[in-house]
């Protein structure tokens, strides 16, 4: 069972001006093969299918807790993309202005789709506008293999975040991959310890 608290995991500064190109890059961290949708759902399904929970309690707790933290991450990435698309108003909140559709569809190869079929916000797609797929989840039911995969997944996700970081100079856009990068490092370390 889950509860939702109407607050983000961390506070994020918003850029003063919209930056749709940066928003499109950050969207990869949501719906790409190594994005937060993949880490969230992989750990969530691994926790759903975890057997012998009493006997293997610490491993179950590790996976289930990281899964819950990842829920907060998809919320955070969503907030970051919206903040980058609209910029901040005078109170530091997301501006209430109209969708910057002209700059949206010029920003990347997938930009037109953000306007035509999207919510003018975050989408569950990668940087090319290809939808996230349920078979990005890895869950073999073999605990050691699943932990090995999770360690690899976190290492792969770090590489993509680093590359996203390099693609923008916008400090607000860089803060998001920076934060997720740090948390991913903690998770990779935890899975490595669990493997041992």
């Amino acid at each position: 069972m889950f509860l939702r608290i109407d607050r983000l995991q961390v506070e994020m500064p918003l850029p003063k001006e919209p930056d749709p190109a940066a928003a499109a890059v950050v969207n990869e961290l949501m719906g790409g093969r190594f994005g937060e949708m993949t880490t969230l759902n992989t750990y969530m399904y691994q926790s759903f299918n975890f057997r012998m929970r009493d006997k293997l309690r610490p491993f179950y707790a590790l996976i289930a807790n990281i899964a819950t933290e990842e829920l907060g991450h998809i919320e955070l990435v969503g907030a970051a993309v919206n903040g980058l698309l609209y910029g901040a108003d005078g109170d530091g909140k997301i501006s209430a202005g109209d969708a910057p559709f002209e700059s949206m569809f010029k920003s990347t190869g997938a930009g037109t789709n953000y306007h035509l079929n999207g919510p003018h916000g975050i989408m569950a797609v990668n940087n090319l506008g290809q939808p996230w797929r349920g078979d990005y989840i890895f869950n073999s039911g073999n605990l050691i293999l699943d932990l090995l995969h999770n360690f690899f997944l976190e290492c792969g996700a770090r590489t993509v975040k680093l590359r996203a970081y390099e693609m923008t100079k916008n400090p607000a856009a860089r803060m998001m991959p920076g934060y997720l990068f740090t948390r991913g490092g903690v998770h990779a370390h935890a899975y490595a310890l669990a493997l041992q």
Copy 2:
């Protein structure tokens, strides 16, 4: 931000004997086009992208709350599928025995994949083993259109649950669509009221 409580939303009785065919049917309610992954992620992304939250607070709260409830639903469907695959032990918990792989891959057209590539448990796929897709999410950013869609989605999801219900005689398998059917009815009604 989200918290997870180590308890299901409702208590579910487990079948005494494994029933892989029923498990495969219930899996549709997770990863099918009208399954819980679609309702969960549709409402979650609509809440992420909801603008002018202060002014439209009741609508935001409606969508965000149902999204959170749906998190509990995917957990519940996961537990139901595992319960049906393994059956109950003497204490009423999921049996710790080996995966019933022979009966798994005989149960449906997608059955072999549960054994070969799956966790011997719930997967984010439909009844044919096709992965759930991020573009099943509908989020236009136009509140009225999104509410109209949500009303339609809940009606469509009810139809699929009813058909899943018809496909099995197993009381434990029937309980899950029955419960979700009732909750879906409440959601459909709520979206209809919001539309008005």
Copy 3:
């Protein structure tokens, strides 16, 4: 511009008893890679994009006419699948009885999906329940290459129809591929002549 006449291209006898397994085989002739959706849409798009229509009038007319005939074919395959699913009533019309869902989902690997997500009738999918795709269309804009492709497509479609024919003993189910097989032969011949 198109007109629709409320009559099928040819009369088809209906089976007295439902035969869902045969229906599932015939559905391949609709939504498979070499099914009628592919021939219809390939020729339709080739006619939409045909340039210099005045100068190349006979070739344009050939492709546009076959495209129109294929519209009648998808209607025919739809009627055949519905006839096989429900059987005939006393008047020789499609029976008005309930959907035979139990036999539907036992009939093939894709059978469960006909019940859960389908109309209890024809779907735009292949024999595995995989959706027809717009990139099955071939249209290069080079007339000679397009005609060569069309000749190949008709030959490939004939092979699939022959194999569908072999898969059922049901005379009503066999009539459909038999009829389409004959028309396909005429089309293949016409494209071969046009190539010369």
Copy 4:
């Protein structure tokens, strides 16, 4: 059975100069999730699978007639895209000049594919070059649910047309979504009445 008349449903003015960027936007109205391929095939399959036609004649006629009208719409969108790609010659017909491939592949993220794999004309893809899929069709076999869906589909399609309209200043490009927008409004109204 269908007849084809060698004339468009409405006359359309052609732009004097090619406008590939506008062509790419209008292509979304053909092969996107809410494009004419989806409305056409959804209503076509609903008409194929319509049961008890005698008893429910007005509803069958409504769906079958709109399906036929949609056939004319895909033809119209095809003509519009070709007109925008090549522009008009002195007689007001589509220019017979060479394909403007350089401007084509600069126009959008999907532009290169129009040249490499396309007919230098309309394709059954969305604005990202992703192929139209047969599972965009919704047809549950439950008439009320199908009508509710159709009402939602027309509302969604109107939103996409409006957004396409905003994306171009070209009067010829704007005429197409404008016309389809009007017809879509009539269809949405008709489905709403049928639902009542």
Copy 5:
């Protein structure tokens, strides 16, 4: 540059009787996410994109050599599936008899497709008939991450082979995963050493 020698890497005994169900299971080892198409192409592309080959010669040689060996593996899996489909004739070669189409389409959920659209032999699909995808390849260009992935991939592939092994009692069908399992163990070990 590559040379082909008209001989398999290892000799394989053929079953006396066709065993289409076993053939369908072995096909997963070709076109599944963890099949030989994935290992072959992952290592092949990693070798194509390997930079600083002089400086990192042993690592390049390792990956390039395993890629070449995997070419022999896809050939071997192809021979195994054909052997299982047709059985041996008196000389121990693959029988020249007709395709056993009736048993083919009864063998698995994907069986009908082997007959309708396939070569009556091996296909580049998984056990559900879903096509192999080019994005199953992992190649980040970061050598350490690629080696870590390769180690994970070989471990995952071993699990699938083991499960395929369990799904058939046919000694000829079991020999193939058994052989690949052994070679996969060598590869996993080599990648682990390279990582160190």
Copy 6:
């Protein structure tokens, strides 16, 4: 069984300056529907499934030999894309410098993905970044139909190479389609002779 020789089929001059836009165009010749992955795997699978090899030896040899040559082609396309991305150093080898990520993601609609998820080199995707699919392979098991398809495939592949050639002025980028175009012409001719 296959051997690999550490040398390309033909020598290729490298451009002095990186040309990422040309690299992206050449990548289509690898992973597009009519790229080398399709010709390679189509002929490879046709050779795996070729029956009655003794009786039909010349046809088997033709297909198996072209398949082996295509292995060299994918290696060549891989080398060309890497050469275009990095340019030559003073010794005429591929430069060892850093990945030109900024120019990569500006070059085409799919450019960002080369940086975020790719090896900074060749990928098994088309010009839109859509992955190559195993169902691009055509192999019916009917020799005449397969040869007819192969003739069509080579003609289609020639058209795409010609269009790729037109899209770049870079002599090094043009050499690759030029060479493949010539070899494709030989293959098309060979398949035509075999058909007769």
